[in-house]
């Protein structure tokens, strides 16, 4: 059992993959993942993937960016480098709006990308699933469902039978 990473089943079309993912989830498997050449709306339902923390990360990033922009300008124009031009107020907030806005967007976008990479655990050049024999097709036209050996319900024979019953193109073992 410790010898392999899991069992992977290959399907021809997205409908079969969603069906299989739903069946595996109903069967009680939790350590499972699907692989497809494009995002499939139904998979999020089948694998219960609707919630992620990215919007919160981006919100925090945007707020930090906006504060950075505003406070940077406040500090420079009022405290560190005040210039008196005809007695106009040093804290001239209307002229701060643009840079505050731009830094909000900049920090928001950076946190969206870095947050996405962080939540996905990328970059990760090696992953056991790449050992699956026909896995190169997951980026072309085939759809894969992998049940990991770390799942408490995993049993090489029983899980293999379960996957084969879903009428996949092929079921194979994934080495570590």
């Amino acid at each position: 059992m410790s010898g392999i990473y899991g069992l992977i089943a290959e399907f021809d079309n997205p409908t079969a993959l969603v069906k299989a993912a739903r069946a595996a989830r109903e069967k009680g498997y939790r350590k499972l993942d699907a692989f497809s050449p494009f995002p499939i709306e139904g998979l999020n339902d089948a694998l219960h993937l609707h919630k992620n923390k990215l919007p919160l990360i981006v919100l925090v990033g945007g707020i930090v960016g906006g504060l950075t922009g505003y406070l940077l300008q406040y500090y420079i124009t009022v405290i560190s480098f005040p210039i008196n031009i005809g007695g106009r107020p040093l804290h001239s907030w209307p002229s701060y709006i643009i840079i505050t806005f731009e830094l909000t967007i900049l920090f928001g976008a950076l946190s969206a990308v870095l947050g996405m990479l962080g939540l996905c655990g990328l970059p990760m050049p090696y992953h056991p699933v790449f050992n699956a024999p026909r896995f190169a097709l997951a980026s072309r036209n085939r759809f894969f469902l992998c049940i990991e050996s770390a799942d408490p319900l995993f049993d090489l024979a029983a899980t293999g039978d379960f996957l084969r019953a879903l009428e996949p193109h092929e079921v194979s073992e994934v080495a570590h």
Binding site: F81, A109, V113, H127
Partner: protein
């Protein structure tokens, strides 16, 4: 089973029928992974490389001798450099419009043109960003534009639109690069899996960051794309608004106007879609991609051009009306000089290019003819360059005091720098065409009827 899936209703013909996941992947990836490169590519890349060398020469001379090699003399200190800056950055806007705004509006036809349009944005911003820096006089001190603790004890003036511009353009360049790269990741994974030699697998593998198409990743990825689109949408509208502030905040007649921001944004999208068409029409012909970039894409782009062109036309009319109705004598004189003064040829040329020529786009026969569309997109690009030249040069040449008027004469170095950035753009763009997938493979896969999950089976 696959046969019945073909029978599922196809609500919109975003791409030609008959494609499969495999054939879409193979066709787009083959452009990059093939050994055979079309002659067209060598010609365009060679032309771009030649002009790039001209650019390097022009910049070297500029560094040695200073900005005096250009035709900028008092009072016209903003000649070609700022004209080119505004023109290039405007061209970039269509890419972000296609990648972000059309994504939020769920315009699925964008999926096959967004990738190269974003690349166009990136390279256009690279060309644009160099002009203000080269125009500084001492370009090697460009880092003075950013606030940083320094021994000189001075800081940028945050009340100046020129400093706003630094932040707007650098944010725009960064966010465009991020958005473009994030969009590329799954396709880089495809190239990694399909590359035939070890070097290709290694390079594309590292660039794809180990993308494996996991459902967990796709779920986060889609959230990230939507959020980036939501951030890029106000950003793109803000960038040309801030560019227009460079003019409107000043009190020069012909510049000091409240409707510059929407007028500039419309003009930017106008010229940007012209560039999208100028690139898409030859590319789809040479690489046989008519099934993916269909006549519908060209027609839709032409419609956007027509709509934004009409907004620009309205702005031209209102500009003159406001000058006349406002009753301000300098403003009136500025517009009278544009119509009849030393720059009247540029003015009427831009009116012909930007207002009269696009009226042909009302006709479907014209919109579905790629050759005519290509010509009209070049006409629009020329017209939009003339518009920026007109706004910048004619206003500075004749402002308040007739005794301080002066006419701008472009030198050969002005032209060399401008043509040089066109070379840089072509060089980068054709390098991109050769090395990266020019159409987003995974987004085109989602357009196929087979990509729909049939729910009744669940």
């Amino acid at each position: 089973m696959p046969d019945t899936s073909q029978l599922v209703e196809r609500p919109q013909d975003d791409i030609a029928p008959g494609y499969t996941f495999g054939s879409v992947t193979d066709q787009i990836a083959a452009v990059v992974l093939t050994k055979r490169t079309p002659i067209f590519w060598f010609l365009c890349f060679g032309a771009g490389f030649g002009l790039l060398l001209l650019f390097l020469l022009a910049v070297a001379v500029l560094f040695i001798k200073g900005v005096g090699i250009w035709g900028i003399r008092t009072p016209v200190m903003w000649g070609f450099a700022i004209t080119n800056f505004v023109w290039w950055i405007g061209i970039g806007h269509a890419g972000t419009l296609i990648s972000a705004i059309l994504l939020l509006l769920n315009q699925r036809w964008r999926n096959s043109i967004n990738r190269f349009a974003e690349a166009m944005t990136l390279f256009a911003v690279a060309c644009a960003g160099m002009f203000p820096v080269l125009h500084l006089g001492r370009p090697w001190l460009m880092y003075w534009l950013f606030p940083y603790p320094n021994t000189m004890g001075i800081q940028p003036q945050f009340r100046s639109p020129l400093v706003w511009d630094v932040f707007a353009v650098s944010t725009y360049a960064t966010v465009s690069l991020l958005f473009w790269y994030v969009g590329l990741m799954p396709d880089l994974g495809t190239l990694r899996d399909r590359a035939k030699n070890r070097a290709g697998r290694m390079i594309y593998g590292i660039m794809s960051m180990g993308w494996r198409g996991s459902a967990r990743h796709w779920s986060v990825y889609e959230t990230a794309t939507l959020l980036l689109a939501g951030l890029a949408t106000p950003l793109v509208l803000s960038v040309h608004t801030v560019v227009s502030f460079d003019f409107t905040i000043a009190i020069v007649p012909g510049w000091h106007s409240t409707f510059f921001p929407p007028y500039f944004v419309a003009g930017a999208i106008y010229s940007g879609f012209a560039m999208v068409l100028a690139l898409a029409i030859p590319l789809r012909k040479v690489y046989g991609l008519e099934g993916l970039i269909t006549d519908k894409h060209l027609e839709n782009s032409a419609k956007v051009m027509l709509a934004t062109g009409l907004i620009v036309a309205y702005a031209y009319v209102m500009e003159n009306f406001a000058a006349w109705y406002g009753g301000e004598v300098y403003e009136q004189a500025a517009f009278w000089h544009r119509l009849t003064g030393p720059y009247r040829y540029s003015y009427w040329a831009l009116i012909s290019c930007n207002i009269i020529a696009p009226q042909f786009l009302w006709f479907k026969r014209f919109r579905t003819n790629p050759l005519l569309l290509f010509i009209s997109s070049i006409v629009v690009l020329v017209g939009m360059w003339l518009e920026r030249f007109m706004i910048i040069v004619s206003s500075l040449a004749q402002d308040f005091l007739p005794s301080s008027w002066g006419i701008f004469h472009a030198t050969r170095w002005d032209w060399a720098t401008f043509l040089g950035t066109i070379g840089l753009f072509m060089f980068l763009f054709f390098l991109f065409i050769r090395l990266l997938p020019m159409i987003s493979i995974f987004e085109v896969r989602t357009l196929l009827p087979q990509a729909k999950v049939k729910e009744e089976q669940g």
